[in-house]
Symmetry: C2
DNA sequence: TGTACATCAGTGAACGCGCGTTCACTGATGTAC
DNA sequence: TGTACATCAGTGAACGCGCGTTCACTGATGTAC
């Protein structure tokens, strides 16, 4: 189907040039179609951007669902690494997924609570596991998940705004902060067994 | 001086239309000058944007320095309210200050450590006060400050991307998360005096 | 005090560009009888 | 099986727009002698 061809071309342009560099003409050229062909399959450019947002979220969802750790705490450590890796290796797809204004869909709390965001649901599932293991406190899992995601997103956007002197510097700070955030929601045993 | 006229006009255009809506022509029209007048005072458009970033950071610096609380913990509570308020009432100036790519200057850690970011220095000062009062743990003040700022920025960008169903919803989550973040760096007394 | 000249802030017209989108169309494919 | 017609994916040219920036200029102000 041509729609998929166009979407694949749009994804390729996005990965190369970012959201501001994505134009109808470039997508068409990449798909070897006339610029007008897009309008048979998308109402206009912003409909194409919406599709790219969904595409980016789907990519992220696949990454999250491929995390293999069994233990929920280990799983969350892998999660923050995966998020870091996604932000650094697919920066523009990351932007499309998380920064494009959502067209009213996928809003907190209703849509997330209704499970419309698979990635967030997986995170919440693991947090609930950790809670029932007695390793997490009583804050709502949704709150914890949102804090974690927001902290990551803030760190990434500071990095994007060129606020760190090097990528290594950024990674170190990111890991320290996210790790601390996870720990801050976890329950520290008051005394250890001998 | 005309430079200030142009900068003031640019600020007004920014506040109304945001970074993407800021064009040389609009700024000139607002300043009642020809578009070319700008080039006497700024090398090009990106130099003007750099000046707007400095201007936004200066605005933020003034807000931070007007926080009156004496107690460092109370001061930090006021800080997160001020940040929230800045993001909501001057959204585009907020963007210019925190999201425009810094032109290699003002990078963590060197520039911040050298005190080139007055707002962050004030935050670090209060964190150090709290530490010497025994109310904060031993994490480096810079790390704590960056986490706090990043968490706020992430929450704000999720709000901007239309991820919360209402502003009230957003504010509630923001406050819960930021407050939790501050608490997570503070020392909980193991037993209370009776 | 008067003249000649340099400086420089600001102008006005134009250039070349890429953008999203409109319009009227072509031509292949499927369907009805 | 053959003909007439509807559907609809894709085309090609053009429109109107706003953009950052170039170029050659004007005209006021300051300075040297």
């Amino acid at each position: 189907m041509t729609r998929d061809t166009i979407l694949a071309a749009a994804r390729a342009v996005l990965d190369r040039e970012g959201v501001p560099g994505l134009t109808v003409r470039k997508v068409a050229a990449r798909a070897k179609l006339s610029p007008m062909a897009m309008y048979r399959h998308f109402a206009d450019k912003s409909a194409l951007l919406d599709a790219l947002m969904d595409d980016g979220l789907a990519t992220w969802g696949k990454i999250v669902s491929s995390i293999s750790a069994q233990d929920p705490m280990a799983w969350m450590e892998e999660l923050i690494e995966a998020y870091l890796n996604f932000a650094l290796t697919k920066p523009h797809r990351f932007d499309a997924a998380f920064l494009l204004p959502a067209p009213s869909a996928r809003q907190f709390p209703d849509d997330f609570a209704a499970g419309r965001s698979p990635a967030l649901m997986m995170i919440i599932l693991r947090i609930d596991q950790a809670k029932s293991n007695g390793r997490f406190g009583n804050e709502p899992a949704l709150d914890i998940a949102l804090s974690l995601v927001a902290l990551g997103q803030g760190m990434v956007s500071m990095h994007r705004a060129n606020r760190f002197s090097s990528e290594a510097q950024f990674k170190a700070i990111y890991r320290t902060a996210l790790h601390h955030c996870i720990e801050s929601y976890s329950v520290k045993p008051l005394r250890r067994e001998k």
